[in-house]
């Protein structure tokens, strides 16, 4: 039984890691630009397909492919910012609809380029760590390490660098930040690049484990919304804590009951948090 519990903890840590990457990117975009990026799940999908292209088809080393995927998806984010979110900056619902349009385009491109079927990505490593009867494959371990590394880097970037200060200023109050001489356009571009790239890395790192398909973003975006709500929109720390909380609850309930019950419990957890604390665990009051 303890082995079984430990195994579930391993599984939950892995799920928490990549969900945290996705959710933090979503929160960053919402915080700085005030727009709900519905296409975020498709950015994750694009990251996974970057692996199919660079690693499976082109034969580059896995981690080089991940880095290329990061840059590629980050650039997709910049493209979204320039063509969609910048013209719609005063129209958040418009931004939402435009991101749905972008989602449809990305999905179709994935179907056209790679076909409908799931892609087979050969394993990167066969190794595993064994603790008692439980084990953690290296592939999953890489995801956990990448998440911790990237989120730590992001933390210091936001706290210490000049752009980090600008990003946080924009998230607090865009007009006031502009009055201080911060370029909103440039800051939004950085936020979109980072937010999209995090989703892309999540997709790239998990590609060997999930067999990418054009519609894989769908289930991820729903979970990501739940996580950022539980954490409190606009709170990066909240997103991380909520990702861990959600992944553990979801994984444990899935293990002991089934997937649908786990989804129901996850949603009930979120409603319960919202009823007790309508701004999420770490949220501040919503801006008007």
């Amino acid at each position: 039984m303890p082995d079984f519990l430990l195994q579930t903890v391993f599984n939950a840590s892995y799920a928490a890691s990549y969900m945290a990457l996705i959710a933090v990117g979503l929160v960053l975009i919402f915080g700085v630009m005030g727009v709900i990026n519905f296409a975020h799940g498709e950015l994750y999908m694009a990251g996974a397909y970057a692996i199919v292209f660079f690693y499976v088809w082109s034969g580059l080393p896995f981690f080089v492919a991940v880095a290329l995927g990061l840059v590629f998806v980050g650039c997709l984010g910049i493209l979204m910012e320039l063509t969609l979110f910048r013209p719609l900056r005063t129209n958040p619902l418009g931004g939402l609809i435009a991101s749905i349009g972008f989602l449809l385009i990305l999905q179709t491109l994935a179907v056209l380029g790679f076909g409908l079927r799931n892609q087979n990505v050969p394993p990167v490593s066969q190794g595993r760590i064994t603790v008692g009867g439980a084990f953690l494959t290296y592939e999953r371990l890489y995801v956990i390490i990448a998440t911790i590394g990237l989120l730590t880097a992001l933390y210091f970037f936001l706290r210490k660098s000049k752009f980090g200060w600008a990003l946080r200023a924009c998230a607090q109050d865009r007009e006031a930040a502009a009055l201080q001489g911060i370029s909103i356009n440039q800051t939004a571009r950085y936020a979109m690049f980072i937010g999209a790239a995090l989703a892309g890395v999540a997709g790239a790192m998990t590609a060997p484990l999930v067999a990418p398909s054009p519609y894989m973003g769908h289930s991820v975006i729903v979970t990501a919304f739940i996580i950022i709500i539980v954490g409190g929109i606009g709170s990066l720390e909240g997103a991380v804590v909520a990702a861990v909380l959600y992944a553990f609850v979801h994984t444990f309930v899935t293990t002991f009951y089934d997937g649908v019950i786990a989804n129901i419990v996850g949603l009930l957890l979120m409603l319960a948090v919202l009823v007790v604390k309508p701004q999420g665990l770490f949220g501040v009051r919503e801006r008007a």
Partner: protein, 339 residues
């Protein structure tokens, strides 16, 4: 926002033309398009009731699930309890209204984006319950062989509602009556209060308006009509399953409503009709099935970039232009659009 309700001569002619078109249209299209027409007419009710819900400023993502509640309710009342179908439809709609009432208590503690996602969660829980519990909801396969609308046989007239053209007329009548009710609600004191809460919720609360009760009322009325639409849908397709009411469908309702525009009652209707024709008729006839979602996405982006206030802004501009041509330069009070 008192609008002129009297109808001028031009308006009367317009209504007559519209009536003729609505009556004639099932005889001008192919069989598969007749089926589409039934669904489109039902969707008109879905988006117009959705707009009523958004008048208070809160956007729900549970609307399609409320439609599902009506569909499931009506199907179960008719199939398991043996209600006559017309009665089951009304009972289904009431079921949706009752569920909305219950959900209001947790949901309207939230505002804005939190309400948006909170309502999504509540709806998704309901949908997953249908999916998980085979008895009585049928699990992932849903409920099949739902009884159809009873045929009318008066000897000299025989109306069989399995024929999509006939079912279309039934749906048309139900939808038109519902639209009229929704229109009256919006123009009544209640509807004006919805607008007041949207724009100035603190101010309206300070003069004694209970914002919670009005938000709940808008949600319940909208859910009732969504439920009615769902019931019409269930007895037409004779099968309901949880996937019909998932977030994809909700996203389409959201798209139709926003692309159409929400400051006028007819905005969402323009949205759903225009986008359905573009997607199902024009894009389908080009014969590029694989890239259809891509073109649809492109159209969405272009629509929102170049018509941020929706298709209805075209109508509003055209009407203002017509009015100003007469020489009377009316103050442009009509062009105030809801954000």
């Amino acid at each position: 926002m008192p609008e002129k309700t009297s109808i001028g001569g031009a308006g009367l002619i317009g209504i007559l033309i519209l009536a003729v078109v609505l009556i004639a249209v099932p005889h001008l299209v192919s069989f598969s398009q007749q089926e589409l027409l039934v669904l489109l007419t039902i969707n008109v009710l879905v988006v117009v009731s959705y707009r009523l819900q958004t008048l208070t400023g809160e956007w729900s993502l549970a609307h399609v699930v409320m439609m599902g509640a009506g569909a499931y309710g009506s199907a179960l009342f008719a199939k398991s309890f043996g209600f006559p179908v017309p009665l089951a439809m009304i009972a289904g709609a009431i079921t949706a209204g009752v569920i909305a009432t219950v959900l209001s208590f947790p949901l309207f503690r939230m505002k804005g984006f939190y309400f948006l996602i909170g309502s999504f969660a509540a709806g998704e829980i309901l949908r997953l319950i249908w999916k998980r519990f085979t008895d009585p909801f049928g699990g992932p396969k849903g409920i099949q062989r739902i009884p159809g609308f009873p045929e009318i046989d008066l000897g000299f007239i025989h109306i069989d509602f399995y024929d999509p053209a006939n079912y279309y007329y039934l749906v048309l009548v139900v939808v038109l009556v519902s639209l009229w009710v929704l229109y009256r609600v919006e123009k009544s004191r209640i509807g004006l209060t919805f607008h007041a809460i949207h724009w100035q919720d603190k101010l309206s609360e300070s003069v004694g308006v209970d914002a919670f009760r009005y938000r709940m009322l808008a949600f319940v009325i909208a859910s009732f009509f969504a439920g009615l639409a769902g019931a019409l849908y269930a007895h037409y397709l004779s099968t309901v399953n949880p996937n019909q009411f998932d977030v994809n469908t909700m996203v389409y309702v959201l798209i139709w409503t926003i692309v159409g525009g929400t400051s006028r009652w007819y905005g969402p209707i323009l949205g759903v009709v225009a986008l359905t024709i573009v997607d199902e008729v024009i894009l389908r006839s080009i014969g590029v099935d694989q890239v259809r979602p891509l073109l649809y996405g492109l159209i969405l982006i272009l629509a929102i970039l170049f018509l941020p206030n929706g298709l209805e802004s075209l109508v509003i501009k055209a009407r203002d232009a017509l009015r100003n041509r007469g020489g009377a330069n009316l103050p442009n009070g009509q062009a105030v659009a809801r954000k």
